[in-house]
Subunit: 215 residues, 2 copies
Amino acid sequence: MLSISREEIQGMERLYRNNFINSISGFKSSNLIGTVSEKGIYNVAVFSSVTHFGSNPAVLGFVTRPTTVPRNTYKNIKDIGYYTINHVNSQIVEQAHQTSAKYEEEIDEFEICGFTKELSGFGGVPYVKESHIQIGMKFEEEYKIAINDTILVLGSIQEIKLKENLIKTDGFIDLNEADTTSINGLDAYLSPKKIARFNYARPNQPTTQINEYLK
Amino acid sequence: MLSISREEIQGMERLYRNNFINSISGFKSSNLIGTVSEKGIYNVAVFSSVTHFGSNPAVLGFVTRPTTVPRNTYKNIKDIGYYTINHVNSQIVEQAHQTSAKYEEEIDEFEICGFTKELSGFGGVPYVKESHIQIGMKFEEEYKIAINDTILVLGSIQEIKLKENLIKTDGFIDLNEADTTSINGLDAYLSPKKIARFNYARPNQPTTQINEYLK
């Protein structure tokens, strides 16, 4: 095993380090965040930092840097109070990646990247019609992260739209069946394939599989 | 498409809602956090919330609830100031899931779950030897999340251990080659397979693939 120190990481060339450190946390979620500005311009941008924060209330977070590309996303969320999160499936990875280009503020990124808007009932924020799992979000709170000036944005789930057969009898959503993708680093998209699903783990009892998951 | 409202989510039975909402953010990272207590008891626990926060300095975060299972992890990190993050590969998903059982505080979870400790040079915190990508972390800061009393724990990367051939010429780490897994919901493990890697996206220019990624 190669060992790389903190100092060696700091000494890396900037793009090399961005690729390296963006890969190191493991696989990431792959989502499009849909927003609308006060002027009515629609925005969609790919994010790999959407993270589960709690189930009751149902809360999701994501990390943003107000001074970089997806700044329109952050500004629109603060102005309108609502946004959407839409899973990227394998059929739309190319368009999804294209949303990371630095488009001017007045460009409708749905149109230019080839996505179809479906307007929600709250704030008129746009869902991505091509996505198989769509989540309507309300802005709740934000935390400015002292160590690197990023912002953690937290929202509560207002609505979930998906095909009924993706939900299993115990509430589990089969993301493999939904064709949801995962992100490696800044720019690689993958399709996760099932290994196993396990029953609730208990001390002094071996882990057992939920066999119907693999059927 | 089925539409499920906030009120319907709130009305779900607790375990059903946990499965449902834990699946909705998309695929999650799959990591074992290794710690040691002040009394010298080793602890290892699986986490699906490890998230990239920044590359310079290199910062990773994870979410915990101090009152639930992995509370030893949080206490140990606060007491010792260091911890490790270790990728779960497909060969160790069963043992990784077993770490989520509620073991008593005096149990060495490495031993009981079948993992090998490799002690780091900082705080003596244990790496998981069976993991192909191991990260040494220093505690930096924490944020108490008001909406649901969870805690976001942020740490800086001190050391990264991995096989040299996993790092590509531009710094990208091929997590597919590393056999890193991904988590769906609370208890399903998947092996992500490559779809595409894309070049830096620019307005007025179509997205192009990095072809060597698929070789």
